[in-house]
Assembly symmetry: C2
Homo-oligomer: 204 residues x 2
């Protein structure tokens, strides 16, 4: 199992080293098993040093969350030279490629556990709200483009983006919290939805 986030292969300063260690501890123990001790086990320097670079556990975890959400946003497929229909297919790919967005399932696990905290932590909820809005708007924009380009039907971009957003969360969560591999079936049906309800099969 590869616990390393490619982006953190070579952390540049101590703060990044600490974030990397936090990620590794997350992968191994999960949110409920995270302790300062275990984070410091994953990084070569001393435990007390964490308190020199961060105000405390809460501060560190919040910065870690911020970092993870940044990664999430960066993994969204950027505009290609091609049309919106190609672009949206990339998004669907990202949604179903090994969980969601990132090549290893560890990232998804961490995100699911972090997101669950948002149920009782207002600050976490605000962070996730921000990223959710970002991805929604991103998809919304693709759809708007597609309609203008004439490759999509005249759907409500906001509503369609909302469905995409929920599917993102749903697939990620489902994949790491259940052994049933509904995944391929779900993908097939979602592709059918995109073909039928979104793509404009023009017969000029």
């Amino acid at each position: 199992m590869n616990d390393s986030l490619t982006f953190l292969e070579e952390p540049e300063d101590t703060r990044e080293e600490i974030l990397k260690a936090t990620y590794e501890a997350f992968c191994e123990h999960g949110y409920s098993g995270i302790t300062i001790q275990r984070i410091s086990d994953k990084f070569p320097k001393s435990k007390s040093l964490l308190y020199h670079h961060y105000d405390g556990k809460d501060d560190l975890l919040l910065e870690f969350l911020e970092f993870m959400l940044d990664q999430t946003e960066e993994q969204l497929p950027l505009q290609t030279g091609d049309g919106a229909d190609v672009h949206i297919e990339l998004v669907v790919d990202a949604m179903f490629s090994s969980g969601s967005m990132v090549d290893n399932v560890n990232f998804s696990r961490a995100m699911v556990e972090l997101r669950a905290q948002a149920a009782h932590d207002e600050q976490y909820r605000e962070y996730f709200s921000r990223t959710d809005r970002f991805t929604s708007k991103h998809v919304e924009h693709i759809i708007r483009s597609g309609i203008e380009q004439g490759v999509f039907q005249n759907v409500d971009p906001s509503e369609t983006a909302a469905l995409f957003q929920v599917m993102f969360v749903g697939t990620t969560t489902q994949q790491v919290t259940s052994n049933e591999s509904i995944f391929e079936d779900c993908r097939a049906e979602f592709e059918r939805y995109v073909e039928t309800c979104l793509i404009d099969s023009k017969e000029e």
Copy 2:
């Protein structure tokens, strides 16, 4: 805020009293804030009594999970006298009525937090797998009926059920972990999907 599960309004024995207290502690503190102390704060008898009725914290939480999953399964809309198209609409209702399935959002919060544990706990994952399979098969059966009745298109029941399952997880999670109220938009689009991709608009 109403922390009580209707089913536990009047717990019959001490074990149920403890489960009720666990639910209340869950609502107030969330999974990561659950302690034996806080559970016992929510119930009138002594803390040590917990250990008389359960082997320990893990045992208690596992039984609590089992109880919550039972509730989840019981909230699935049963077959009505009407056709599958009416039946599936009830399922969609359940999916979008105040989170999912149960009338208060507390239940959803608890479920989301419990489910997140499944990312690192094999036993939790097995429990959720079982319930996920149950709901999937339930939806699959409705769809199969609908096809036979001629009210649904000739879709793949397994694939469609898979999408429903992921939507269930997605809506529940999204609602309690984000302030963005994507909810109504998502519902509108999902209804559109059902109308377009599932219902057979017969024009005999």
